[in-house]
Amino acid sequence: MTMNVQLLALVLDELIPPRPDGLLPGAGTLGVGAVVEHAAAGAPELEQLLAHGLAALEDVARRSGVEGYAALSPAARTVALRDIDRAAPMFVPTLLTLACVGYYSAEPVVAALKGSARPPHPLGYELEPDEQSLLDPVRARGKLYREC
């Protein structure tokens, strides 16, 4: 059984939806599906877990009388995903973890959170100097180590 990548993108958008302020798309739209596929490619058990979970979602949708998950209303998609989360407890947490890996390391998300997408190197960051007087109470206590 292989993963349906279109369905995967829809589910990822459900797990991490677009940010309400419109500054960031959902995880599926952002392309996080590629990260999930990459992770699953080297791990057959993971691939099966995800493929079975996605197939089960399609089944839930069809039982409600529509063609598949994509044909459900937004509210019905959420309900279907919650049903699967109860029926197959590993699927949603695993996919959410992978979604977070891909989403929160992606350049647009980092840029939105930090105000810049520049890599940490080579510019780094400035830190202001510390007041050495912070240590005065510790110095005042005296020796702490054990003689032996």
């Binding site: 890599p119 940490p120 780094g124 830190l127 202001e128």
Partner: protein, 534 residues
């Protein structure tokens, strides 16, 4: 087949192998080091890319089982609540370490005498002190002299700056009247021996393209190579071989093309970490040593110690700018390091401040806590956590237990077909009590520092960095694997210099002590060259 005989063959180019190679180089002996990993090119470090965090789940992950690089060997750690972490490269795990660089305390070498637990070491702090100091200078350690938690010592460089998280936490410690101090950090804060200073990029755990972090590929190795040590990378040792006289006569290894080769040697030095060294000894079976080389005591692989970590994470209302600065270096507290019978456990721990999590890791920490739901409320929940967390780690002393051990897996092998290590480890009641106590105290200090909420992970799953005790040192050959200067009791031309020879674990990060010990052993070898095998 190479039949050249080298004077000293070092296996492993990490923290210990690098230090011993550099120290022995001034003898002008023919020294070769075999390392299964490769150099990490400075332009390969993830910190140069904006999506650098993704590499923590991939080719720069701390677990070899996740990383799965060709040079990695798998570890069956399914029998442990703590997963093994290591890196196979020139520089070894120091390439990915935080650079938090405390020394062992004097009391760590006398735990039987002082607290009635485990064993005393056959050496003491005073014996190692000159090598601690030498290693601090070689590594480029930053900090503040005068820490009352230690006997007087020099600190070569000014400290890493505390930043907002450190200042908040320091105020919490001061409010409670508890010890804290800027951490000794293996991070150069000024130009030092040709190395550029730290720029507070915060990517230490995936390597430092700046070269400011004191990983041994940038500290010892350039000097060792300049002094004539030959370093062969992508060479994986399968076994140490024994001659008719019962002495080691070399090794069999696979080169980068997978070709089996032999290297003969007068002296073999193991520096493969507390899992890798035990694995190699156990894989080196012969009629003289049917249970593994140097294992007549039966202790090779036993007494594995790991340092259980608690992570108590304060959540603050205001941004902490915790992504600025070395992630694991800021301040430490040794307030609870020594035994206090009222606490219900023996020995103790340090606190190590971490800075706020970066976006990806911050999300991954929050998920198992149930703090980051999927769906409509996801972004709001993340906004309440991002750059508002301050983790305080409790690094707990792990007492030796012979049932905690490294053995060989019956089925799992590396890419050369060499049996992989299997970890059997359980948390002791002493460790569990210590973890619980550390969480309670961390909660107190984080709240004193202004935290509005607390998250806890304990023991931290991916914290099996500190691999110790599996070939411990001692005077008695029945109760130890190596003598008081690292020579195997059973094979007098085999030396071990890594964390596997630790008798006890202390409650601090071990790299400073591993390297001081390696320098001490090398120094002792040099002083005994005329009668090294007597």
């Amino acid at each position: 087949m190479t039949e050249q005989i080298v004077d000293v063959l070092i296996i492993g180019a990490g923290a210990a192998g690098a230090a011993v190679a550099w120290s022995l180089a001034d003898t002008r002996m023919h020294i070769v080091c075999l390392e299964q990993g490769d150099w990490v090119r400075s332009d390969a470090y993830p910190g140069l890319r904006s999506n650098w965090e993704l590499s923590q789940a991939g080719d720069f992950a701390v677990s070899p089982n996740t990383r799965r690089r060709p040079e990695d060997y798998p570890v069956n750690d399914s029998g442990s609540p703590i997963s093994m972490s290591m890196f196979n490269a020139v520089g070894g795990s120091t390439v990915l370490y935080a650079g938090h660089f405390p020394r062992f305390h004097p009391s760590d070498f006398r735990v039987r005498t002082l607290d009635g637990v485990a064993e005393d070491w056959p050496i003491d702090y005073q014996r190692l002190e000159p090598f601690f100091a030498l290693n601090d200078r070689m590594t480029g350690v930053a900090g503040v002299a005068g820490d009352p938690a230690y006997p007087p010592k020099e600190v070569p460089l000014p400290p890493v700056r505390l930043g907002r998280p450190g200042r908040k936490l320091a105020s919490g410690f001061n409010e409670l009247g508890w010890h804290w101090w800027p951490s000794d950090s293996a991070i150069v804060t000024e130009e030092y021996e040709g190395r550029a200073p730290c720029i507070n990029a915060g990517t230490c755990l995936v390597g430092c393209p700046q070269g400011a972090k004191g990983s041994s590929d940038v500290t010892y190795w350039p000097l060792a190579q300049r002094a004539g040590v030959e370093l062969r990378t992508r060479c994986r040792v399968r076994e140490i071989t024994i001659g008719a006289n019962g002495m080691a006569d070399g090794v069999i290894y696979y080169d980068e093309n997978g070709v089996e080769r032999r290297q003969r040697a007068e002296v073999v030095v193991l520096a493969c970490n507390g899992v890798g060294t035990a694995r190699l000894l156990l894989n080196s079976r012969s009629p003289q040593f049917p249970d593994g080389l140097a294992n007549r005591s039966g202790l090779v692989g036993r007494n594995l110690m790991l340092h259980p970590y608690s992570a108590t994470i304060g959540i603050f209302d205001e941004p902490l700018e915790g992504y600025k600065g070395p992630v694991g270096c800021g301040l430490w507290s040794h307030e609870f390091y020594e035994t206090d019978p009222a606490r219900g456990f023996k020995r103790g721990f340090i606190f190590e401040m971490n800075r706020s999590f970066h976006p990806m890791f911050g999300a991954l920490i929050a998920l198992p806590q149930g703090r980051l739901p999927w769906g409509a409320t996801h972004h709001e929940a993340f906004a309440g956590l991002y750059d508002r967390t301050l983790p305080l780690l409790g690094i707990c002393e792990d007492l030796p237990d012979p049932e905690n051990r490294v053995t060989l897996d019956e089925h799992l092998t590396d890419s050369n077909g060499i049996p992989a290590p299997k970890i059997t480890y359980r948390l002791s009641e002493n460790s569990q009590r210590m973890l619980d106590f550390s969480i309670a105290r961390a909660t107190e200090v984080l709240k004193a520092a202004g935290a509005r909420d607390i998250m806890v992970e304990s023991p931290v799953k991916m914290a099996g960095w500190h691999l110790m005790g599996t070939a411990r040192m001692g005077i008695d050959p029945e109760r130890s694997v190596v003598n008081e200067w690292g020579r195997c009791h059973d094979v007098r031309n085999v030396f071990i210099v890594d964390g596997s020879i630790f008798v006890t674990a202390g409650g601090v990060n071990p790299t400073s002590t591993i390297q001081a010990l390696a320098l001490y052993i090398a120094d002792t070898m040099k002083s005994r060259l005329a009668n090294l095998f007597d």
